[in-house]
C-alpha cells in the first residue's frame, strides 16, 4: 500500500470539506458545500472536479515491455492442448516458466541500466529481483518438482544465480571456498548412479572428512581446517561465513550441501525453518520475502500466493504465476476463485494504462467466471477516436459474437459520420452492423437533401449500392429512384416508366413520396410519344386516387391544399390524355 500526500491545486481544502469517489484506477475529488468550522472563506470555491491518478509507473516504457512480452507467453500457454501426455507437458511448462523469468530478467537489466535517473526505477528493480527469486524457487519446487538427489542441484543453481546478482566479488571468494574435488563429485548423481549408491558413497566420504578433523590432520593450517569443517557441515563454522553467505537461504543450501545432499522434498521445511532461525538470530524478525520463501520450502502453495498478493503489490507476478500453476494442475479447486480474483485485479491494474486495452482482451477471455461480462463492459468504454480504432474494437467484438456491442459501436460511428455529413461512411457502418433502421435514416437524409436541393448528392455511392440496397426498404427505394433518374437522363423512357410504376405498385415507395413520383411521371406523360401503356395508365390513375382518398392532412395550410389540388388536376388531365392516346395506339392495327 502506498501512502502519499498530494496537494491538489485549486481545491480549497482550507475552506471546505472535500468529497471523493473511487474510480477504476483513479479518484475523483470535489469540493462540497460544507464549510470547515471557524474558517472565513477567503476566495470563491473551485467548481471543478479533480481527477487524482496514481503515478503512472505502470505506463513506464520498460514495464510496458514486460506486459507485452509476457502477454505473448500467456497466450501461448493457453494454447497448449489438454490431450498431450503429462510428461511432455511438464517440460513445456518448465520452458514457459523459464521464458517468463527471462522476460523478468531482461526488464530488470534494462531498469538497472536506467536506474540512476529515476528513483521509482530502483524500487521496481528490487521488486523484480524478489519476484524472480520467488518464481525461480517455485519453478524448482513445484513446476519442475525435482525429486531427491537433483533437488539440491537445482537449489544450488537457484542460489548461485541470485547470489551473482548481488555481489560478483563474493562469488569469486565463494568459489575459492568450494574445492575442485567437490565439483566432480556432483557430476555423479546426474545419471550414472542410483540415489542409495550415491548416499552410501557420500556417507563414507563424510566420515572420512570427520575423521580428518578429529585427527587434527589440518591443525597446522587454520584455513584448511576451516575448509574441512565446512565440508563436514559444521553449522557454527558456516555461520561464521555469514557475510559471504548474505542470506539465510544461501546458508540453508550450503548447509544441506554438506550435510544432506540427498535431501527429499518433504524434509526440506525442517531445515529451512531452522536455517532461518540460526541465520537471522534471536533478535532479527523475518521480512515478508523470507516468509514467502519459507512457505515455499514448506510446499504451502496457497500461503505463498496469498503472501505474494499482499506483500508485493504487484498483480502481474501473481496473476501469471498462478495461471501457470493452474495449468500444471497444482492449485486446489478452492484456489480457483482466488485465481479469478487475482486475474481481475491484474486487469483493473492494467486499466490504468489505457493503451493496454488490447492485451487485456486475451486475459478477459481466460477469466473463468466473469471474463465475458467484464469484457463486454470494458469494450464499450474504449474511446473511438479514429475509424481505425473502431474497426479494431469491432473485430474483437465480432470474433466473440458480442452482437450488441457491435451494433452499438457501429451506431456511434454511423451517427458521427452522419453528423459530419459523410453519408457513405454512415452507410458502410450500418451495413457492417446490418442495422436496417439506421440505413432507413440515412436514406431519409438523402431524400431530404434531394427535395431541398433538387439533385442527388454523393452519386458515387447511390449508383454503386450493390446488394447493400436490400438492407432496408427505404434504401432500396432510394437506389431504384436514383436509377429512374439515370434512365431518364439516358432517354430510356419506357424502362424508366416501368421502374417508376413498379416503385408505387410494389409498395417500395413510401406513401409520402407518391406525389413526388407522380409529378416525376408528368414529363413522361407529356411526351409526344406514348410511353405508358393503357394498363400502366390505369394503374397510375388508381395510385392517384388512392393517394387522394387518404385522410386529409390537417396541418396543411390552405396554400398547400391549393397546390396539391392543382397538381392533382394536372395529373388527372395528363393521365386522361395519355389514356386516350394509348388506347388509340394499341387499338390501331399496324399495316
Amino acid at each position: 500500500m502506498m501512502s502519499l500526500l498530494q496537494f491538489i491545486p485549486g481545491a480549497g481544502f482550507h475552506q471546505k470539506h472535500l468529497g471523493f469517489e473511487w474510480g477504476p484506477g483513479d479518484l475523483l475529488v470535489y469540493e462540497t458545500n460544507y464549510k470547515l468550522q471557524g474558517i472565513r472563506p477567503r476566495s470563491a470555491g473551485s467548481p471543478s472536479v479533480h481527477v487524482v491518478r496514481r503515478d503512472e509507473d505502470i505506463c513506464s516504457p520498460i514495464l510496458r515491455k514486460l506486459f507485452n512480452e509476457s502477454h505473448l507467453i500467456f497466450v501461448g500457454l493457453q494454447k497448449i492442448k489438454e490431450d498431450v501426455p503429462s510428461k511432455n507437458k511438464k517440460s513445456q511448462f518448465v520452458s514457459i516458466s523459464k521464458n517468463y523469468r527471462s522476460v523478468i530478467r531482461a526488464c530488470m537489466e534494462e531498469l538497472q541500466q536506467n536506474a540512476g535517473k529515476r528513483s521509482p526505477d530502483t524500487h521496481h528493480v528490487s521488486i523484480l529481483l524478489a519476484i524472480e527469486l520467488i518464481w525461480n524457487l517455485c519453478e524448482v519446487l513445484f513446476i519442475d518438482a525435482a525429486p531427491a538427489g537433483s533437488l539440491l542441484l537445482h537449489l544450488l543453481d537457484w542460489v548461485r544465480l541470485h547470489k551473482s546478482d548481488v555481489d560478483a566479488r563474493a562469488r569469486e571468494v565463494l568459489q575459492s571456498d568450494s574445492p575442485a574435488q567437490h565439483q566432480s563429485y556432483w557430476d555423479v548423481p546426474a545419471g550414472t548412479q542410483t540415489l542409495t549408491e550415491f548416499d552410501v558413497k557420500w556417507r563414507h566420504w563424510h566420515e572420512e572428512c570427520d575423521r580428518c578433523l578429529q585427527d587434527n590432520t589440518f591443525a597446522s593450517n587454520r584455513h584448511l581446517e576451516t575448509i574441512c569443517k565446512i565440508l563436514v557441515g559444521d553449522e557454527d563454522t558456516l555461520l561464521e561465513q555469514r557475510e559471504l553467505l548474505s542470506t539465510w537461504y544461501h546458508f540453508l543450501v550450503t548447509r544441506l550441501l554438506f550435510t544432506h545432499p540427498t535431501i527429499k522434498p518433504p524434509d526440506l521445511h525442517y531445515y529451512a525453518q531452522s536455517s532461518m532461525n540460526m541465520f537471522l538470530g534471536p533478535r532479527a524478525s523475518p521480512e515478508p520475502l523470507d516468509i514467502i520463501l519459507l512457505s515455499a520450502f514448506e510446499f504451502d502453495l496457497h500461503q505463498v500466493i496469498k503472501d505474494c498478493s499482499i506483500a508485493l503489490n504487484n498483480w502481474w507476478f501473481v496473476a501469471h504465476l498462478t495461471d501457470l500453476l493452474d495449468h500444471c494442475k497444482l492449485l486446489q479447486s478452492h484456489n480457483l476463485q482466488c485465481v479469478s480474483h487475482i486475474r481481475s485485479s491484474y486487469l483493473s491494474y492494467m486499466h490504468v494504462c489505457v493503451s493496454l486495452w488490447q492485451l487485456a482482451v486475451d486475459y478477459f477471455d481466460h477469466c473463468p467466471e466473469f471474463g465475458r461480462v467484464y469484457l463486454e463492459l470494458q469494450i464499450e468504454r474504449v474511446p473511438l477516436d479514429t475509424e481505425r480504432k473502431a474497426i479494431k474494437v469491432l473485430r474483437i467484438c465480432e470474433d466473440r459474437q458480442m452482437s450488441e456491442q457491435v451494433r452499438s459501436i457501429c451506431k456511434i460511428m454511423a451517427k458521427r459520420a452522419l453528423r459530419n455529413n459523410r453519408l457513405g461512411s454512415a452507410l458502410s457502418w450500418s451495413i457492417r452492423a446490418k442495422d436496417a433502421a439506421f440505413a432507413t435514416l440515412i436514406s431519409e437524409r438523402f431524400l431530404q437533401d434531394y427535395s431541398n436541393k433538387g439533385f442527388f448528392t454523393d452519386l458515387d455511392l447511390l449508383d454503386n449500392l450493390g446488394p447493400a440496397m436490400l438492407l432496408s426498404d427505404r434504401l432500396t427505394f432510394l437506389g431504384k429512384y436514383r436509377e429512374f433518374h439515370r434512365l431518364y437522363g439516358e432517354k430510356r423512357f419506357s424502362e424508366a416508366a416501368r421502374l417508376l410504376l413498379s416503385l408505387m405498385t410494389a409498395k417500395i415507395a413510401p406513401r409520402s413520396l407518391w406525389m413526388t413520383l407522380l409529378t416525376d411521371a408528368l414529363p413522361l406523360l407529356e411526351q409526344k410519344e406514348v410511353i405508358f401503356s393503357v394498363d400502366q395508365t390505369y394503374e397510375l390513375m388508381s395510385c392517384l386516387e388512392e393517394l387522394n382518398s387518404g385522410t386529409k392532412d390537417l396541418n396543411q395550410t390552405d396554400q398547400d391544399e391549393d397546390i396539391e389540388s392543382t397538381k392533382t388536376e394536372l395529373l388527372r388531365l395528363a393521365l386522361a390524355r395519355n389514356l386516350a392516346m394509348a388506347i388509340v395506339k394499341e387499338g390501331t392495327i399496324e399495316t
Binding site: 505473448l72 452507410l427 458515387d460
Partner: protein, 344 residues
C-alpha cells in the same frame, strides 16, 4: 531464419524503410516507426547497426533508437521526404479536424487522403496546398497510391477503387471500379512495380484482390488471404513475383509464385494457392491448408504459395515494409520485427 523482435513500448501503426539510393545494391539499415493510441505519440527512427555480418552470417543486432519526436494524434502514415513541413488542418469536417488516413509521395509531390473524403495534392516546397478535390468520396478513403505521375488510385470504405487524374479540371474520378458482391471496405492498395495496370487491394474481410485497371469492373483474382482486416499489401519493389500482406489477425504472409511464369501471367490465368506455416509445423488451432476460390486456369502448373513470416500468433500486424532483402513490420503488441534475409 526467424525475424528479430524488438519491443519498443508503443503500439506501432506504421513502419517504413528509409529508401536506399537505387543502383547501389545496399541493404536498408534505417527505418522509421510511428506509434498510435498513446497519450503522446511518437515518430521514431531506428538503425540496424552495421551491415557486415559475422563469419557465420548471423545478424543479431537489435535495432537502436536514433532519434524520435512527438506527434499530435496517432501516426497514420509515413513517407520519406527530404524536406519537412506541416500542413495544418488539411483534412477537416465543418467543425472539427478529420483524421488523415494515408499519404503517398512521389517527390516532390505528395497526396493525402482522409476520413473527410478529400484528396489533397501538395508540393513539398510550397506551403499552400496545390489542389483539393472536395467531396472526392462520400465515405472514408483508406489508402492511396500513385499509378502514374499525374494519376492516383484511392480505395474507400464502400469497396470502390477510384482513379483520379490531376490533369483533369473536374473533380470527379476518371474511373470507378468495385466488386460486384458485397461492398466490403478496402484498406490498402499497391501497384505492381513494373506493370502499372496491375493493382492489389486488401479489405475488411481479409481478401486479397488483384485488379487490372484497364479492363472491367471486377478483379481478376480473389484470394482468401486472412481471417480479419488486411492492413497493408506490398509488391516487392525489385522482385514483383513476391507479395507481402499483413493483417489484424496477427499474421504476415509472404506470397510467391512457384512456377516459372511471372506474377502477371499467373494473375491472369489464376492459380491454386496454399498457405503453409513458417516452420512447416501447423500453428496451434489453425487449418493446415486454405484453398482459394479457384478462378479459370491450369491448376497443376501455376501455384502461389504463402508462408507465415512471424513465428507465432501476435496481436494485429499493422504495417509492413519491404526493400531489397529486408522486411520490417510493427504490431499492436508493441513489437517491431525485422527480417534481414528474405528469400526473394
Amino acid at each position: 531464419m526467424d525475424p528479430t523482435a524488438k519491443y519498443i513500448s508503443q503500439k506501432i501503426s506504421r513502419t517504413r524503410w528509409r529508401p536506399v539510393p537505387a543502383g547501389l545494391l545496399q541493404q536498408p539499415e534505417v527505418f522509421a516507426a510511428g506509434s498510435w493510441d498513446n497519450e503522446s505519440n511518437r515518430v521514431s527512427i531506428w538503425s540496424l547497426g552495421d551491415n557486415d555480418s559475422d563469419t557465420d552470417g548471423e545478424f543479431d543486432e537489435e535495432p537502436r533508437l536514433l532519434c524520435d519526436s512527438e506527434h499530435d494524434g496517432d501516426v497514420m502514415d509515413l513517407q520519406a521526404l527530404s524536406l519537412a513541413h506541416v500542413w495544418e488542418r488539411a483534412h477537416r469536417y465543418s467543425c472539427d479536424n478529420a483524421p488523415c488516413t494515408a499519404v503517398v509521395c512521389r517527390s516532390p509531390e505528395l497526396v493525402s487522403v482522409g476520413e473527410d473524403g478529400r484528396v489533397i495534392l501538395y508540393k513539398a516546397d510550397q506551403t499552400e496546398v496545390v489542389r483539393v478535390i472536395e467531396n472526392a468520396d462520400s465515405s472514408t478513403i483508406h489508402a492511396v497510391t500513385f499509378l502514374r505521375t499525374t494519376e492516383v488510385l484511392t480505395v474507400n470504405s464502400i469497396g470502390q477503387l477510384k482513379m483520379w487524374d490531376f490533369r483533369q479540371q473536374s473533380d470527379s474520378p476518371a474511373q470507378i471500379l468495385s466488386l460486384t458482391g458485397d461492398r466490403v471496405p478496402l484498406h490498402c492498395v499497391d501497384k505492381h512495380p513494373n506493370q502499372q495496370h496491375i493493382v492489389a487491394t486488401g479489405g475488411q474481410d481479409g481478401m486479397l484482390c488483384i485488379w487490372d485497371v484497364r479492363q472491367g469492373n471486377t478483379p481478376f483474382s480473389l484470394i482468401e488471404a486472412h481471417s480479419a482486416e488486411m492492413w497493408e499489401v506490398h509488391f516487392h519493389p525489385s522482385n514483383p513475383n513476391h507479395l507481402f500482406t499483413c493483417s489484424e489477425d496477427g499474421s504476415l504472409l509472404h506470397w510467391e509464385t512457384t512456377s516459372g511464369s511471372d506474377m502477371s501471367t499467373l494473375l491472369q490465368r489464376g492459380w491454386n494457392s496454399r498457405v503453409v506455416s513458417h516452420s512447416g509445423v501447423p500453428l496451434a488451432g489453425e487449418d493446415d491448408s486454405v484453398v482459394s476460390s479457384w478462378l479459370a486456369g491450369d491448376s497443376s502448373k501455376n501455384r502461389l504459395e504463402a508462408t507465415h513470416m512471424l513465428p507465432s500468433q501476435t496481436l494485429s500486424v499493422n504495417s509492413l515494409d519491404v526493400l531489397e532483402q529486408c522486411l520490417v513490420c510493427g504490431t499492436d503488441g508493441e513489437a517491431v520485427y525485422v527480417h534481414r534475409q528474405l528469400p526473394v
